[in-house]
């Protein structure tokens, strides 16, 4: 790390990074994307249940490069008291990203994006959890993103779902989701960072209660036609079935043998790209 003097710096030419100049082929003629996946495949997903001993329920999940940890506390006393409801539990979801989870450093103070994601995610879980069973309490869900590469809010939701089941909180269903969208005219499942930056990119995170296929989270960035939305929705539902199967597998794995109950260091290695 030698020090350059000021004058030297002005002499160096500005070179454009090659990547921004070439046109990327998001899906080639063989139907393969930049990272080798087909348009329907999700990135590999690894789920480990019960990683935070202090919490009532917890989960660690890797989805592609994304790494997320979720912990659930509750039902517990809802403080401040004036925010409690005498009819149901209040679901509080806190989504945060570690400073080192992104290429540039993220400001540790929660931004408006964090607040919005927290809000829509809490709303997704309000529908899933039998909140009427726990009046005057709070169910606190904390999610921290340690590493990110597109689709973090969906990864976070998926992780939190498993943590809630691990905490024994009664739910209508697990919540599972995927981000679908478009890059270069192709409808694709589970966009990665490059695909998110495509000139015509559409990013649509969607989460459902798998049994009833009720949509509990739906957001969209970009320009979609109705037909594209329907195509995307179909692909999404198929992909979500897989994600849901992986969630279930991870929960069962915790009880597979007595050793797993002591220190669950075992991760659930799965290939998340199988489409059933």
């Amino acid at each position: 790390m030698a020090i350059k003097k000021k004058e030297e710096k002005e002499k160096t030419e500005k070179k454009k990074s090659p990547k921004s100049e070439e046109k990327l082929e998001y899906v080639n003629k063989q139907g393969k994307r930049l990272d080798g996946r087909t348009v329907e495949e999700t990135r590999p997903i690894k789920i480990t249940v019960g990683v935070v001993p202090s919490a009532d329920g917890s989960c660690y999940l890797e989805w592609g490069q994304n790494k997320v940890i979720a912990a659930v506390y509750g039902p517990r006393e809802c403080l401040p008291k004036h925010t409690a409801s005498p009819y149901k539990a209040v679901v509080r979801y806190t989504y945060r990203m570690a400073t080192f989870s992104v290429p540039d450093r993220k400001n540790p103070r929660p931004g408006r994006r964090d607040v919005e994601i927290s809000k829509v995610s809490a709303e997704a879980f309000e529908k899933a959890i039998f909140t009427e069973k726990f009046p005057n309490t709070a169910i606190d869900i904390f999610v921290e993103v340690l590493d990110s590469n597109a689709g973090t809010r969906i990864a976070a939701l998926t992780t939190a779902s498993v943590a809630l089941a691990d905490a024994g909180i009664p739910m209508r269903d697990l919540v599972a989701g995927v981000a679908v969208g478009r890059a270069d005219g192709h409808i694709i499942v589970d966009l990665n960072k490059y695909e998110e930056d495509a000139p015509d990119a559409v990013d649509m995170p969607i989460a459902i209660l798998p049994n009833s296929e009720e949509i509990v989270l739906l957001q969209m960035d970009g320009l979609f036609s109705k037909k594209e939305w329907q195509q995307a929705r179909q692909l999404a539902f198929a992909a979500i079935k897989n994600v849901h199967a992986l969630q279930k597998q991870a929960l069962l794995k915790k009880y597979e043998n007595s050793e797993s109950a002591e220190k669950p260091e075992k991760t659930e290695k799965t290939n998340g790209s199988d489409v059933q």
């Binding site: 517990r76 309490t137 024994g168 798998p210 049994n211 009833s212 929960l251 009880y255």
Partner: protein, 262 residues
Amino acid sequence: MKKIIVPGELVSSERKRPGDHVFLQNGRMYSDVLGILDDRPGEVSVVPLEGCYAPRRDDVIVGVISSEKATGYMVSLNSFTQSFVSKKDVREQMKPGFVISARVMDVNEMKEAELSQVRVFFGGEIISVSPVKIPRVIGKNASMLEVLKRGTNSTIMVGRNGWIWAKGGNMPLLISAIKKIEAEAHFENLTIKLQDFLALSNKSVRPQMPAMPAAQGGLRPQLGKIGDNKMNEDNAAMKPEAEALGKNGMQDDSDESDSNGY
């Protein structure tokens, strides 16, 4: 191995009564928790593998006095709200930090319980396990509890809320034995396993098993029914503090009653 199901999983497509942790949706029945399927002729329910304690009438619990009010005391008992015991129901003066056992007399919509039949315990310590595993700690006919007491020489009081008060004897051994039960609660033949475990760690335990029914492994968990004649007989034989188990939890076989111990 019993069938483990996740929240939202279909439990039965037959026409049955939905039991604990089972809900009806569009004519079909689903589980609302991560737990073990209990599918019986007239009813299907799920026994949760995790979760905090929800007070039920007639449960005997182990709690800790958290504060004193004008007319009674607030009691912490591993639930999401505290419960209350009236001063009229208590003989002695109590202070925050006292460990007690008590019976749940009534539960309101807020899941707050009214407690009575209070006993105070001094010394000893509280071992905490997941409440859903408590029936396994007691065992059929209190068989597991016997094994624990004999294997460690400790005095033990089991609360349905997941808190176990214990004093004396080989405490570290008792704690590891209880943790072992908690970790393997969903397996068969647990009582025998624990006997062996304790015998190994403590050569003075003689394997004396209470009479077990012929068929053991592979049976589904069956839940005791309150009001069974057999249960009343067993109850009479126990000390007054020992209470019948409510309809809850995992057991080895048959529908015998269990005591909370002591």
